[in-house]
């Protein structure tokens, strides 16, 4: 029987078959597939949807250009900025992250982006989630491809978990996809629907047909739901999280981790950062939610000794224009910061130069660090995966970061 891999090798039509750029077929080849072993380490990705204003998150509080560009929106020392070093300070709402920073559990990467940045939410989010360049269309996600490559033999969707109702592109690979659930109980309940439970007990016929694929996915879903439901009962958190959607989702994540779930990648989102109007209040609230949530999450994981084996990474689809707009807000921009949290960061602190406000590209920050370099570092140095196969080409990794 010819499988897809053989077919791709032999067919003269191969190059025209798929919209997926050729490089990603590297993952189809045997040999690359078995690299992975994360040594019990896990990654938690926090998506800040809407385009978080990085300059008012990690504030260049000694830079006149910042105050000049944002006469009413700039944050000043007297309003309670939380100083990180001589150049940068955290937004006043982020006290719990300041504590983690002081404790050596937080790192900041400035001016992360990609060439020819796209200012559309949707397109730029696709670029970040797929790990493509801006002139490339890739229909799989970078974490999905990690699932593809890392662990061909552990055929369980809960290797990647998104705490939400639907699954993001980031978590969809070619062969394997993560699993989205709001909470294990509710998810389990759905699979316990009498009819669905019966059908999901049926075996795939083993002929690699589409029907087979559906039965296989259903069976995996049901057994994952079972496993997650049973396992998640083990640990109930006693830490106080913010009473918000995001807080609850982080709590669910912590409970799963502390219960000993074997998930390698978690994905949690916080949305609402599209602050074109009256930014101060809205962003402050969101950053407070972010910092309080992550503070509680870190505390929860520290209590059970899991923080050292956890790496948290935040990102947003773009930063915002340096100049404020006429509505006390900011418009879509380009490069942005990434925050890293973890009990065992090898290099905490501010990890590269503060954003260069003197050298802008049409009013926007120029990126200094490609986001795929960060992905490559996390994939290879933290998760022990083949970054090159997953990202399609080699991006310089950040030495000794994680």
């Amino acid at each position: 029987m010819t499988n897809r891999r053989d077919f791709l090798k032999t067919s003269v039509l191969a190059s025209s078959l798929l919209f997926v750029p050729k490089f990603l077929h590297a993952l189809d080849r045997q040999g690359v597939a078995r690299l992975g072993n994360s040594n019990g380490r896990r990654l938690v990705v926090i998506q800040l949807g809407g385009g978080n204003d990085g300059l008012n998150t990690i504030v260049p509080y000694r830079n006149d250009l910042y105050y000049k560009a944002r006469p009413t929106l700039a944050l000043r020392e007297q309003s309670g900025l939380l100083t990180l070093n001589d150049d940068l300070a955290l937004n006043p709402a982020m006290t719990r992250l300041k504590a983690l920073y002081d404790d050596g559990r937080m790192g900041v990467l400035n001016s992360v982006g990609y060439p020819n940045p796209d200012r559309s939410h949707f397109r730029s989010m696709d670029i970040w989630q797929s790990g493509s360049s801006s002139d490339q269309i890739v229909t799989t996600g970078w974490l999905g491809r990690y699932l593809d490559s890392n662990c061909a033999e552990c055929q369980v969707p809960y290797n990647g978990l998104e705490v939400d109702d639907t699954l993001s592109l980031a978590m969809k690979g070619q062969q394997r996809k993560g699993l989205a659930l709001k909470n294990p109980e509710k998810f389990h309940q759905i699979t316990q629907n009498r009819f669905i439970a019966q059908v999901s007990g049926e075996k795939a016929a083993g002929v690699a047909s589409e029907l087979d694929y559906l039965y296989k996915t259903l069976a995996e879903t049901a057994s994952s739901a079972d496993y997650l439901y049973q396992t998640a009962k083990v640990y109930k958190s006693t830490v106080t999280y913010p009473n918000t959607e995001f807080g609850k989702n982080l709590k669910t994540t912590a409970e799963l981790i502390n219960s000993g779930i074997e998930t390698r990648v978690f994905y949690v989102s916080l949305a609402g950062f599209d602050t074109h109007v009256r930014q101060q209040e809205q962003q402050g609230k969101l950053l407070g939610d972010l910092a309080d949530g992550l503070g509680a999450f870190a505390e929860d994981l520290q209590k059970s000794g899991q923080f050292d084996s956890t790496l948290v990474m935040t990102f947003s689809e773009f930063g915002r224009r340096v100049q404020q707009n006429a509505s006390n807000g900011t418009d879509h921009g380009t490069a942005n910061n990434i925050m890293l949290l973890g009990g065992a960061l090898r290099k905490p602190g501010i990890l590269n130069a503060a954003p260069d406000l003197a050298n802008l590209d049409q009013g926007d920050l120029r990126y200094q660090l490609d986001f795929r370099s960060v992905y490559a570092t996390v994939l290879r140095d933290w998760l022990g995966a083949d970054d090159k196969a997953i990202l399609g080409s080699e991006f310089a990794r950040l030495d000794g970061l994680v």
């Binding site: 025209s16 229909t139 639907t166 049926e202 589409e210 996915t217 995996e220 949305a271 609402g272």
Partner: protein, 321 residues
């Protein structure tokens, strides 16, 4: 398409390659059949192609680069139409388009023994699409078992199929848009210029469970409680969580009489199997037939038919066409 692919920014002094690249990569030849240099040269030829406020095509001569270009081995002072003609002169273009149609209508796994002759005829006919489709639909292999019921329905195909087959009337059709979004396909809002990847890409654990629950939601007023993501490509980030959450129960009317008439002359114990043949493209598994029969037997006679239909539509087999 010019708008979508930034051709308004494609000018003589500062070419933008987006349109030129995607024309070749996604719509005519596919990757690997042209060089980066070809993309650059084609972009120069498309300079000045743009549109006015009412999206009518406009050629702005002042923005056009009228100099000589070399594209796919030919040299001349090419304009955009010349480039398109050269692309169409490649047999590869006929193969690429035929392959796309084959994957959509016949089988996601292309069979070059089927595609080759079709593509050659298509090329000779100067790209007569209706002739190509007629040949494709009337080929013997089109009706082979391996090419029937092997394609995963898109969310729209799934929803429209249920609605049309059963004559579903909804008091308020708006929730349909919510189902579309939750299942990953909003009409006229493709994720990017390549469109929806389709096939197995529609299916993950969560979307499959939603799909299987859909008949119960539609016919039994079961709850459908899903928060749509803020980064769905047409939900702006400013839309609040409450507005993104989709939990209304919907009232539907299903027209079961035609099905009842259809089954009237069939002995009761054969009805489920007959209905399965009618509703499902793939043959029903014996254990599923038994399950459908048991489920129907447990309910009062007046809702038996509805239950039977709902059960059949909740099977993985119904996800295929």
């Amino acid at each position: 398409m010019l708008q979508f692919l930034n051709n308004q920014q494609n000018r003589k002094q500062r070419p933008n390659e987006n349109f030129a690249r995607e024309v070749m990569e996604l719509f005519t030849m596919g990757r690997g059949n042209y060089t980066e240099q070809d993309v650059k040269e084609a972009a120069r030829a498309f300079t000045g192609w743009t549109s006015d406020e009412s999206y009518q095509f406009v050629f702005r001569e002042k923005q056009h680069d009228a100099g000589p270009k070399t594209f796919l081995g030919r040299t001349g002072n090419f304009g955009g139409e010349d480039i398109l003609n050269i692309i169409l002169a490649q047999l590869q273009t006929a193969e690429f388009i035929t392959t796309k149609l084959y994957r959509f209508f016949v089988n996601d796994t292309p069979n070059s023994a089927h595609i080759r002759p079709l593509a050659q005829a298509f090329y000779k006919s100067q790209y007569d699409i209706s002739a190509l489709l007629e040949e494709l639909f009337s080929a013997d292999w089109f009706y082979d078992a391996v090419n029937v019921g092997n394609r995963i329905k898109s969310p729209i195909e799934l929803l429209a199929g249920i609605k049309r087959t059963l004559g579903v009337q909804m008091e308020d059709p708006k929730p349909l848009i919510g189902y579309e979004k939750a299942l990953g396909q909003t009409l006229f809002e493709p994720p990017n210029v390549a469109g929806w990847p389709g096939g197995r890409n529609w299916i993950d654990s969560s979307s499959l469970l939603l799909r299987l629950q859909l008949p119960q939601v539609l016919f039994k007023n079961a709850q459908f409680n899903v928060a749509l993501k803020e980064d769905e490509n047409d939900i702006l980030p400013s839309v609040t969580k409450a507005d993104r959450t989709f939990r209304q129960q919907i009232k539907t009317h299903v027209e079961l009489q035609p099905i009842a008439d259809f089954l009237a002359k069939i002995p009761e114990e054969q009805q489920a199997a007959k209905l399965g043949e009618f509703l499902l493209q793939a043959p029903i598994r014996p254990e599923n037939l038994a399950l459908v029969q048991q489920t129907a037997a447990k309910v009062p006679p007046e809702i038996r038919l509805k239950t039977m239909v709902t059960s059949l539509l909740s099977l993985p087999e119904y996800q295929l066409m």
